[in-house]
Subunit: 418 residues, 2 copies
Amino acid sequence: MALVNEHFLQLPGSYLFSDIARRVRMFEEQHPDIPLIRMGIGDVTLPLPKAVVGAMHLAVDEMSRKASFRGYGPEQGYSFLVETIIENDYRPLGVSLDPDEVFVSDGSKSDTGNIGDILGKDNIVAVTDPVYPVYIDTNVMAGRAGVLTESGIWSNIRYLPCTAENGFIPELPSEPVDIIYLCFPNNPTGTTLTRAELRKWVNFAIDTKALILFDAAYEAYITERDVPHSIYEIRGAKQVAIEFRSFSKTAGFTGTRCAYTVVPKAVCAYTNAGDKVMLNALWNRRQTTKFNGVSYVVQRAAQAVYSEEGIRQVQKMIAYYMQNALLIRKSLLEAGFEVFGGVNAPYIWVRAPKGLTSWKFFDMLLNEAHVVGTPGVGFGPSGEGYLRLTAFGDKKLTQEAMSRITAWKLSSLKSNNP
Amino acid sequence: MALVNEHFLQLPGSYLFSDIARRVRMFEEQHPDIPLIRMGIGDVTLPLPKAVVGAMHLAVDEMSRKASFRGYGPEQGYSFLVETIIENDYRPLGVSLDPDEVFVSDGSKSDTGNIGDILGKDNIVAVTDPVYPVYIDTNVMAGRAGVLTESGIWSNIRYLPCTAENGFIPELPSEPVDIIYLCFPNNPTGTTLTRAELRKWVNFAIDTKALILFDAAYEAYITERDVPHSIYEIRGAKQVAIEFRSFSKTAGFTGTRCAYTVVPKAVCAYTNAGDKVMLNALWNRRQTTKFNGVSYVVQRAAQAVYSEEGIRQVQKMIAYYMQNALLIRKSLLEAGFEVFGGVNAPYIWVRAPKGLTSWKFFDMLLNEAHVVGTPGVGFGPSGEGYLRLTAFGDKKLTQEAMSRITAWKLSSLKSNNP
């Protein structure tokens, strides 16, 4: 009799985005004449940079001729891409990496999900709260989460609250934990850590032999000098951290699919008997056994992100989104909202006015301002009372959304509700 | 203290292909003037079909304009591709599938590896022997394999021998098993099952509540009428089988990366308490949580495989490889070898003459005929005494390889060794 992995049965449905979709659909059915502006989903809207498009056409043509056709590539990624990544993303930071420490993949969602394959079931996992749901759900699937309590938290997961009260800087865990997910610049709050703050985490991991899974998918949006782009800028991090990077938000690859993960040869985990094991070798074995590499055409696309032209075009794209972020921040602050993030990240985290819940605020924005956000509580208990807006939209629509929210805030002030 | 998944430490190195590479390198260093012909690795060599190339160029252009740009797509694949698959690969067989029973992915290696995520740890796994190593290695990683014994088999895996003695038709297990991997047409033996033989397996699975993981990556190479292209041609299979299909060998996508997996809504596994669970919902949850869909450009490429032009071009490619297979079969039979496969598959499974081991035969072909194959024992104990040749090479090189092997056989007959 074939047995299922019963941990999957513990997962509640992923209600957040289906709930949002249901409410949006209901509104649209009742008000087919009112166009909504969607600022909920973190997906890019600008087309691929011209340099990337050109490289893809060339690569497609290579695949059309027998002499230049490419079959199976290395599961870890072609060296033309791996070396370009090291040269451009790490060398300027003073971080040296060997080519076999970089693993090209189809996405950070895959990698942050699959990394659990190489880790033991009995690890205690810590996450910042609010959090990207994949970190928790994949640990539920692997049997590391314990049981879901009535308050919506998992009994074996350690939640590290990030709220306005602590400036969105998580406190070090009071008890030991084994695996720590850190995502900075953060999704969903849009806030980040300074070098000094990140250093505390690296030192904590070194002291307690914990492993940091560092998601740097938004590093390209950093504007402030004191914010590290890579965890490996911190001394000692190579011993304790795996870093995830993606082209999705950097170069508009959400529909093109390319990312990479850095597993330094120094980073270790342990057997129950306390023996050190090199995670690089385990991840390499995982990837060569369960993955067959990224499409050649897509790897050429990713390489072109680093061409002179590509760098310029990508910077322009990011500047476009960050102008939206600036506009959102400025408009909401002027309208009297409490606003976080949006300086080193394309996400703006808005406090719901007058103690409204996330969902109440969401509903009011939907029904009265005709703007769709994402209720913060959907990302975890500490997200309650917040709402996430994204800066990935069209500039004019973003402006229009801000006019609507400002007008709504003014009228609600007059009516004193809320 | 971060703990590793210690099951990874049980895996021996993947010696097969590195051993082959080492011996080939040694030969080439000693004989830089002798060009080898490589018939070892199952990778295609013909370029992408023109219809596919055209579709990719169009899709790249779509991605270059804001109005037609695509960000995140559905994790399960775009409906334009899913519906095309159902219409072309299943409807003609009399198999009806709903769109949400088909999951597009980046490869069958990923899917046959990741499918274990949704299955319990305590399943007893059966594999045909010889076998594609991924089926075993991924179960080792998941802790289902037990320990590696001295004879090279895993204590908890049930091996179903497929040799010339049983016509490469595995016998039904004598004891119950929970999960059965079947790959037909088979890699590495190139043999397959008739409809009546496959029916026995489906009935066995129905009777014992087992789950069949059916790898049909080579179905496009079937030439005989009585060989099923899909396990769902067998009545009742939708209750007990998941089917894996790939564009890699069908349309030359080994470097382009697209495949799909069919998880019918009827297929179930069970909780320890004996409750039925729909695997479709679990796989959907796995894929939406740990995967972000296949590149839009690649999905358009796969769709073009089914265009009128694409179908014609793909048929021509397959015919080219199958002419190689025919040539290999004919040449080796004429030279006095015992040869299997190559009729419904691009693999030819050659019995080593006069009781040679796989590796001895490999070494003789390498050093004396200057042709590289794959030692059958690398695929499992029942592969001992065989060697795999692939038909994916260039026609002229394949002809030349056959001349060399024939000449070698003749001269070795004269010298009576072997």
